[in-house]
């Protein structure tokens, strides 16, 4: 276990904690993007260069922005005054989450000896990935393309609400 890994891991986890704990949603979003960045670095450490950069491009570049937009559009950037940010049943939720973690972690720890040890670094070029995408994984690729198109259109239709086009101004 390299020292870098631990640093990055801690950073990521802390950022994730911040993302769910902070009261101000925008801060949450920002630390979420920090988490994403940390995860990307972890990917890089796992020699998954392509995935790492894709992670940054998609999550930091797009998803985080989306979240931010949503936050501003739903006017939830101000922390609510009434009754805090946590739901009344937050304790139960926490318990469940803890239970889940306990189970998974337990499973990992229990099977830690069975896990394979460090392998030789796989040299995966983008070329290989591209060829794999176009040959063996072409069907999933197409499906994902379809899904993305559908999602785009769907999201626009859901979120857009028409203003009469003649109305001048009214920019958000």
């Amino acid at each position: 276990m390299s020292i870098a890994f631990w640093i990055i891991a801690t950073l990521t986890v802390v950022a994730a904690l911040a993302a769910v704990l902070l009261r101000n949603l925008v801060h949450c979003a920002l630390s979420l993007s920090l988490t994403f960045a940390g995860l990307a670095v972890l990917f890089l450490q796992l020699d998954a260069q392509f995935a790492g950069f894709a992670q940054i491009l998609v999550y930091v570049g797009a998803v985080a922005i989306l979240v931010v937009f949503a936050i501003l559009l739903t006017r939830s950037s101000e922390t609510p005054k009434d009754g805090g940010v946590f739901s009344p049943t937050w304790l139960a939720g926490l318990a469940v989450a803890a239970a889940v973690f306990a189970t998974v972690a337990g499973a990992i720890v229990y099977s830690v000896n069975g896990l394979p040890n460090a392998q030789a670094v796989p040299s995966v070029t983008v070329l290989q990935i591209g060829q794999a995408l176009m040959s063996r994984y072409v069907l999933p690729l197409e499906i994902v393309a379809l899904l993305l198109t559908a999602a785009t259109i769907g999201a626009v239709i859901i979120a857009m609400h028409e203003k009469p086009a003649t109305k001048i101004g009214g920019a958000k």
Partner: protein
């Protein structure tokens, strides 16, 4: 005539393979037009005309193909057959055939049809239902072409019925006119009578030969093997199967092309728009019957009476001749310009039938083709006249139009002369001449010949009458007549040209057409023109025409009687006139016989329904009602009780479960996660154990 064997078809040439396109295109156009959202008049016109134009191109190509084959010795007869449906052992084949007969018909139908389409664009200008009109028209063209290319009696019959339907639709196009609606119904029912016989004949043929294909490499029903079989099969009344089937099919043909006694619908069909009359009831559809006979000619030719040589053609001949004479007589006494032409059509169809019967395919078909051209010409001319006289159809209210509408007059005159068979220059002369000649040489009887001659005289007579009423004398109508637009007169001119030119294909000197149809080499023998019999025929025709026209001119001339005063003949011999004017009371006859009979039976059936069956039914229903009452009782007090209990229990259970459905996403998620945990735990424990 010795039949030179057609070239054995190896593989269908590309054009033969694509033959189906010719009917398909107009049908497609019809379909598209039918689905146009709002009336797109220009688009509809463009579609129909364009599609038919393409069909014409294809038809010409096909014609050229056949011609080429013929030029190299023997004409082609290419068939494309495929199995339509299979039921156990029996299979029904459909297919289409490309041979001289169909090729000629294809060109004629597409060409005349195209001209009439163009003409209609002008004629139907002010009708708001142009779109519908062109839809029907295209559909009709498609169906007719289907009839032409069919190589299977079944396919032919389908298209045949389709043609009937479209004719019904088009006759009743102005359905708001009760007379039109009635005429449409009449046409439909009358032709239906014939079609029933046709269907019978078809079924019989199938049961005898096991195939409905005409030509199928020796296995077709029109080919020697099958015919021989038919000849041997007896059918009662001393008829052979061949004879009986032939007669049945002829009944169908008679219905379609208005032969006695099924001619009654055709004159009434004139209620439809004039282009329709020209296209359907002069050029193409009515010719379908003739074409059908030509198509099944081998069958008709085969001996019908067991042992004797007399064939179904004898019947065809007599019926044809009788029709020719009868219709000509009636035509003399009509005053509606289109009715006159309609009766003349009937009589000309009679000529064709007679020609088929006595002179063979070529004679009949030649008259069919020439007639198609000049009769379409006449009808369109009449249409133009009607158009010009503000929808006036009574010839007594016209007159002197020769000056107002010269561009209609000239083609009309040509058409008239072609119809009445003015010698040498007009196609009508040659084709009718051929028929008369055949009649003269007919071995069986001389009757038809004389009937046809008289008919010819009458033809010339009534056409003269019409001409003098319409174009000579002075204007008796109200308002002012005006010339029709070029889009209407141009087709007239074209048709007029063909009405004259086509004759050249059928002169005895150079019997090109006949040779082509009968697939022999065509040689030019000018000598024939000098032969005595030809000269005799020529003389006869001249006399006929001279007498007819002369009489007509003498009686009517250019002295234009006022609209209300009685006709010349009427003054001379009123009783005869009355008979002729009322068409020999055929309609009335039917009214008191057939129709009365059916009406009576209908009443009887109605009574039966109401009293006997109705009573039985109501009895049954009462019984059921009683049962229903019983079952309702036990339902309410027994089934429902238990059911309600069950439902209550279910409802309670549902209420319990519903409390879980809090609508709180997070609660669901929590449950989900818990479930995951539990499952994972189970997994781990099981794997550990």
């Amino acid at each position: 005539m010795q039949e030179v064997g057609f070239t054995p078809q190896l593989a269908a040439s590309p054009i033969a393979g694509a033959l189906w396109l010719i009917p398909a295109l107009p049908m497609l156009a019809a379909g598209v037009i039918a689905f146009l959202k709002q009336p797109r008049k220009s688009l509809a016109k463009a579609l129909s005309i364009g599609s038919l134009g393409m069909s014409l191109m294809l038809a010409l190509v096909a014609f050229g193909h056949v011609l080429g084959g013929w030029a190299h010795g023997a004409a082609v007869r290419e068939t494309v057959n495929f199995t339509w449906l299979e039921a156990g052992a029996t299979q029904v084949d459909l297919g289409w055939v490309l041979d001289p007969l169909s090729a000629v018909m294809l060109v004629m139908v597409t060409f005349v049809g195209l001209l009439i389409f163009i003409y209609s664009t002008g004629y139907m200008e002010h009708d708001e239902n142009v779109t519908r009109f062109f839809c029907f028209l295209s559909l009709f063209a498609g169906a007719m072409l289907g009839v032409v290319i069919a190589n299977s009696l079944l396919l032919l019959f389908m298209c045949w019925e389709l043609v009937g339907l479209t004719s019904y639709l088009l006759i009743g196009f102005w359905y708001h006119k009760p007379s039109a609606a009635a005429a449409a119904k009449k046409a439909f029912l009358t032709t239906r009578v014939g079609d029933v016989f046709f269907l019978l004949g078809m079924v019989w043929l199938f049961s005898q030969t096991g195939t409905l294909l005409f030509y199928n490499h020796g296995a077709g029903s029109m080919e020697p093997t099958a015919l021989a079989g038919l000849l041997l099969a007896p059918a009662g009344l001393g008829l052979t199967a061949a004879g009986a089937i032939g007669l049945l099919i002829f009944a169908g043909a008679a219905g379609k092309s208005g032969q006695l006694p099924l001619h009654v619908w055709l004159p009434d069909a004139m209620e439809g728009p004039t282009p329709v009359s020209a296209l359907i009831h002069a050029a193409t559809m009515v010719a379908a019957g003739v074409y059908l006979i030509a198509r099944v000619y081998p069958l008709m030719e085969a001996g019908s009476l067991a042992g004797s040589t007399s064939t179904s053609l004898t019947v065809v001949t007599w019926v044809g001749a009788a029709t020719a004479l009868f219709a000509a007589l009636v035509a003399v006494a009509q005053n509606d310009i289109k009715r006159i032409l309609a009766y003349s059509t009937v009589s000309q169809l009679g000529y064709m039938m007679a020609g088929l019967g006595m002179g063979g395919v070529a004679v009949g078909m030649f008259h069919l083709i020439t007639h198609a051209f000049f009769k379409a010409l006449l009808f369109m001319g009449a249409g133009s006249v009607i158009h010009g006289c503000h929808e006036e159809q009574d010839i007594r209210k016209m007159g002197g139009l020769r000056k107002e509408m010269p561009r209609t007059f000239v083609p009309y005159a040509i058409g008239m002369m072609a119809l009445s068979g003015v010698p040498i220059f007009f196609s009508g002369f040659w084709s009718k001449d051929g028929i008369l000649e055949a009649a003269q040489h007919w071995g069986v009887a001389k009757g038809p010949f004389y009937m046809l001659v008289v008919g010819a005289v009458l033809t010339a007579f009534y056409m003269t009458r019409q001409m003098s009423y319409v174009f000579f004398g002075n204007w008796r109508g109200h308002g002012h007549a005006h010339e029709s637009p070029a889009v209407m007169t141009l087709p007239l001119a074209i048709l007029a040209f063909f009405a004259m030119a086509l004759g050249a294909l059928g002169t005895p000197a150079w019997p090109w057409f006949r040779a082509f149809l009968e697939n022999r080499a065509a040689g030019v023998e000018v000598g024939l023109l000098g032969e005595s019999e030809f000269l005799g025929m020529l003389a006869t025709s001249c006399v006929i025409v001279a007498v007819g026209i002369g009489l007509g001119w003498m009686v009517y001339g250019s002295k234009s009687p006022a609209a209300e005063e009685p006709d010349a003949i009427e003054r001379a011999l009123p009783s005869v006139w009355a008979v002729l004017r009322d068409k020999f009371y055929v309609d009335e006859l039917y009214a008191v016989t057939v129709i009365w009979f059916y009406a009576a039976w209908a009443r009887v059936a109605d009574w039966l329904d109401r009293c006997v069956w109705g009573g039985a039914v109501s009895l049954v229903s009462w019984a059921f009602k009683g049962g229903a009452h019983l079952s309702r009782l036990c339902d309410t007090y027994w089934v429902n009780g238990g059911f309600d209990k069950g439902c209550e229990e279910l409802a309670n259970g549902g209420g319990l479960l519903a409390s879980v459905q809090s609508g709180r996403v997070q609660r669901y998620l929590r449950l989900l996660a818990l479930a995951v945990v539990v499952l994972a735990a189970i997994l781990i424990w099981s794997s550990r154990g």
